[in-house]
Symmetry: C2
Subunit: 276 residues, 2 copies
């Protein structure tokens, strides 16, 4: 999906919501456990109920691979089921030396290899340029690079002072020499709203993937005020607050209502903060 197509979806849906499919076999409603593939059965209903309110889905790969080969099959069925209009993100935090990153790229971008065909994959920056570039060899596919994450441990290294500012600022600056806003997105935690305005000065045109709204306690209004640019430039993720909104046979109904609530809030902020 192109940068322009993503923005168009946002304007059409009046939403920049990404639904995180952190599907945990221990948390899904018990009536689904008798299904042949409970994880996919859950995701299918969540997707049906939320697709009109979001522009993106982000399966958290850990939840699937923790189940081994079976989990991988559920992931494959899920990604095939998501409508093509939605931007799909493999939240995998991969990154390795060149030829190995090339294989991770095949994993998530080449359906002939793995069965999976995501639009984007999250990548950790520690190993540098040649760990990231192999993902960009796939046309129209995106890298979502970790910049400033929402967890407490993010201050251990990401905020260390270097000669040119904090490490996360160096990641933002150096990685822009590898790809432009049309192929790269940055992960910026919503618990750090005071940083979002600052990050916008370093990366004015890029989309930011903002996890941590909802269960992790981020504030959607502030994220939107400080983070939005003229192409919206935001994908705001909510996972647990949507997918576990209900726990009965009508769980998907509750998930849909929760997604709708966020979409309606986003619609207001698009009117208010989308810069001309």
């Amino acid at each position: 999906m192109t940068y322009e197509a993503l923005f168009e979806q946002i304007l059409t849906k009046r939403s920049y919501l990404c639904v995180g499919l952190d599907t945990d076999i221990k948390k899904i409603p018990s009536h689904l456990l008798k299904e042949q593939d409970p994880i996919f059965a859950f995701n299918k209903q969540i997707i049906d109920a939320t697709a009109e309110y979001c522009v993106s889905y982000k399966p958290n790969i850990a939840f699937y691979e923790a189940l081994g080969a079976k989990g991988w099959e559920s992931l494959q069925k899920t990604i095939e089921y998501i409508p093509k209009s939605h931007f799909t993100i493999a939240d995998a935090k991969r990154g390795d030396i060149g030829n190995t990153s090339g294989l991770y790229a095949r994993t998530f971008f080449d359906p002939k290899s793995s069965g999976l065909d995501f639009d984007a994959v999250t990548v950790a920056p520690y190993m540098g340029s040649d760990s990231v570039l192999p993902f960009l060899e796939f046309e129209e596919k995106w890298v979502i690079l970790l910049a400033l994450t929402s967890n407490a441990g993010s201050s251990d290294f990401q905020r260390l002072k270097t000669e040119n500012g904090a490490l996360f600022e160096e990641v933002l600056r150096i990685s822009q020499t590898w790809a432009g806003a049309d192929r790269m997105i940055y992960v910026v935690g919503a618990t750090q709203t005071q940083d979002i305005a600052h990050i916008r000065t370093i990366a004015p045109a890029h989309f930011l993937l903002v996890p941590g709204v909802g269960a992790q306690g981020g504030n959607l209004e502030e994220v939107s005020r400080f983070g939005m640019n003229k192409s919206c430039g935001l994908l705001v993720n909510a996972s647990r607050s949507i997918i576990y909104a209900g726990n009965g046979v009508d769980f998907a109904l509750h998930a849909g209502l929760e997604a709708k609530k966020l979409q309606e809030e986003m619609s207001v902020y698009l009117d208010k903060y989308l810069t001309a």
Copy 2:
């Protein structure tokens, strides 16, 4: 496996060799392609031929997951087949916020969840303490943290100057407050031999996992001279130079000979450099 047990294996085998199972369906001998599971058929013969010369096996997870659910099954069979005397490393470069890292830990350490039961997993440090600690909640399991990697891009961020030295030095220092040498190992690329002596002053007791000997051009003699401590403290990995040493029906024989050559060299260095 404990620190002491690992050292004992090294003394028994007179080897600190780790064989990297970077098994690529495009590179294995063609006669194996008619097997029901060519990847496992290849690994099985490699393990049979090299087990007496090495103390560790390190499947590179990218090679398996690039094949989707099928690859995951080959990985599971491989890990079950490796003798219990060998230290097994999932080279996965994972790392995420706490609850997600917990799932990655289940993936590689909890056979009831995923079918896999590794001794150790490689982890990227960028997200900090709470991305690493969940792996340490599994008893007798190890974290192998990226410190200074062997690829060209390692200088993009790992060598950035911070207030207390380069980033990789900060990673070495800060992470030692999370776990001791009995549970943590550091990845140090062999192409940076001049750094190994320096890293030894920061982490004197830790095992170092040194990839990059062989195909990547590192020098085993120098790595051993500068890196060895009184418990050996080294696991030196070779992947392609061993597993692709031959390409005919006798490929495993060539792999065994290559592993034996490295083991014999290591035996000399153990006599020469193992500090009293």
